[in-house]
């Protein structure tokens, strides 16, 4: 609760020249609406916002997603958006649809550590192809598998999307090498411990 109050105070104190806003709050789905409501109430201050990073604010309900969509639709200058540990699959497509429709200057989209599944990527790729706007895409630390790998292949093919930077780390795009890599990592870690003891 204290965190929410502190964040809403900060948002209330922002001026309309605000360029960068980073919110790291670790809010549950119960507390997140208060923060999102505070953001939605201050949207007239986000005209000049270039960079918005939100960490660990649970935006997983449809209502929360609507609030976030409302905020993002009022950030016409937004160039970088990071939503780390905020989302999950069901409502991402709708959010992306609103986002790519309104934030015409958005170039960097960082969606790391969100438990996103393949269906998110499958629905996101056509939007990215249509908008041809996103240059840097971070999808690391999600729950993507080979199906998302194929969808991303489609995004990269024919250069329609003009993606310059792509991070797909820490997903299980192929499970074939996963078990081998885990065994190797454990053995190496043990080996380093032994060197440390020597």
């Amino acid at each position: 609760m204290e965190q929410v109050a502190a964040c809403t105070d900060v948002i209330a104190a922002c001026s309309s020249t605000l360029r960068r806003l980073h919110l790291s709050c670790k809010l549950t789905s119960n507390d997140a609406p208060k923060l999102l409501a505070a953001l939605a109430g201050a949207v007239d201050k986000f005209e000049a916002l270039r960079e918005l990073r939100i960490f660990s604010v649970c935006v997983r309900s449809a209502e929360n997603m609507t609030l976030l969509g409302r905020v993002l639709s009022k950030c016409p200058q937004l160039e970088l958006l990071q939503l780390q540990s905020c989302l999950e699959t069901p409502h991402v497509a709708r959010l992306m649809h609103e986002l790519l429709g309104s934030a015409t200057r958005l170039r960097v989209l960082l969606l790391d550590d969100n438990s996103l599944e393949d269906s998110s990527i499958n629905s996101m790729v056509p939007l990215l192809l249509e908008s041809r706007r996103i240059r840097v895409l971070d999808l690391s630390m999600n729950s993507l598998t080979h199906s998302a790998g194929s969808a991303l292949g489609g995004l990269l093919a024919a250069n329609k999307a003009l993606i310059v930077g792509l991070d797909i780390s820490m997903n299980e795009l192929d499970d074939a090498g996963k078990a081998q890599a885990d065994v190797w990592r454990r053995a190496r870690s043990l080996s380093h411990s032994l060197i440390g003891c020597a």
Partner: protein, 236 residues
């Protein structure tokens, strides 16, 4: 047999792509076949930074050769924890074919003129692998940052590296003092990480060779060493 379904889709997209400059695909579960497909698809790309760490690379590393030979943009290659020690290019050659593979691999690094940063840490390269990296340093002119930590290297491998670094610095001094504006001048190695190897007993000897020629050297200290220590690491 690895099917590499994720890598197949991704590599098909990358094959015709000319926009991707940074590809970070750490710990994606790619196996040797999958990594091979990805590297084949990147052979004529404009990728500047490539990170395939914590996947299974093994002999697929040999398929880096076309990318290295053709690319004028690749500046950072990160292959940490990918079992390079299993690749024939990093092992002693027992057949003429293996020796030829190893020569081709090393030559590919020699042909490249853009690579600045090479991370081959945590690969159990051993002394044989260190010898390959020493040969790479001997023929490549642009690498200035090298991470060799966690490779089970002992004095033999480290000395091969140290000699290669010293010779490279001599070549750098010669090329920089030369008045000719040759485009093939050697770049000095600025950063070398040798931590997490079996070098404790020889760290002073290595320091004596490397300290004058490498700006930042990371190596485990010897217990009786009296130099400046930062968190157990000697920073020169």
């Amino acid at each position: 047999m690895c099917l590499s379904t994720g890598a197949i889709g991704l590599s098909q997209g990358l094959r015709s792509n000319t926009s991707v400059q940074v590809l970070i695909a750490r710990s994606c579960g790619f196996c040797e076949a999958g990594v091979g497909l990805l590297l084949d698809s990147l052979a004529s790309s404009y990728v500047r930074q490539l990170d395939l760490s914590e996947n299974i690379v093994d002999n697929a590393a040999l398929r880096l050769a076309p990318l290295l030979q053709h690319s004028t943009s690749l500046s950072e290659l990160v292959l940490s924890g990918v079992r390079l020690g299993q690749c024939v290019a990093f092992r002693a050659a027992h057949t003429a074919e293996q020796a030829a593979e190893r020569r081709r691999f090393v030559r590919a690094f020699g042909d490249n003129t853009s690579l600045c940063k090479l991370d081959v840490s945590n690969n159990r390269l051993g002394n044989e692998g260190a010898q390959t990296v020493a040969e790479i340093l001997g023929c490549n002119q642009t690498i200035m940052w090298l991470n060799m930590s966690g490779n089970r290297m002992t004095h033999t491998g480290a000395m091969a590296l140290a000699r290669a670094v010293r010779e490279r610095t001599t070549a750098y001094s010669s090329s920089s003092s030369s008045s000719s504006s040759s485009s093939s001048s050697v770049v000095k190695l600025e950063y070398l990480d040798l931590r997490l190897n079996n070098l404790h007993a020889h760290s002073l000897e290595l320091l004596a060779i490397l300290e004058p020629v490498v700006s930042t050297l990371l190596i485990e200290r010897e217990p009786e060493f009296q130099g400046t220590i930062v968190d157990g690491v000697q920073e020169v």
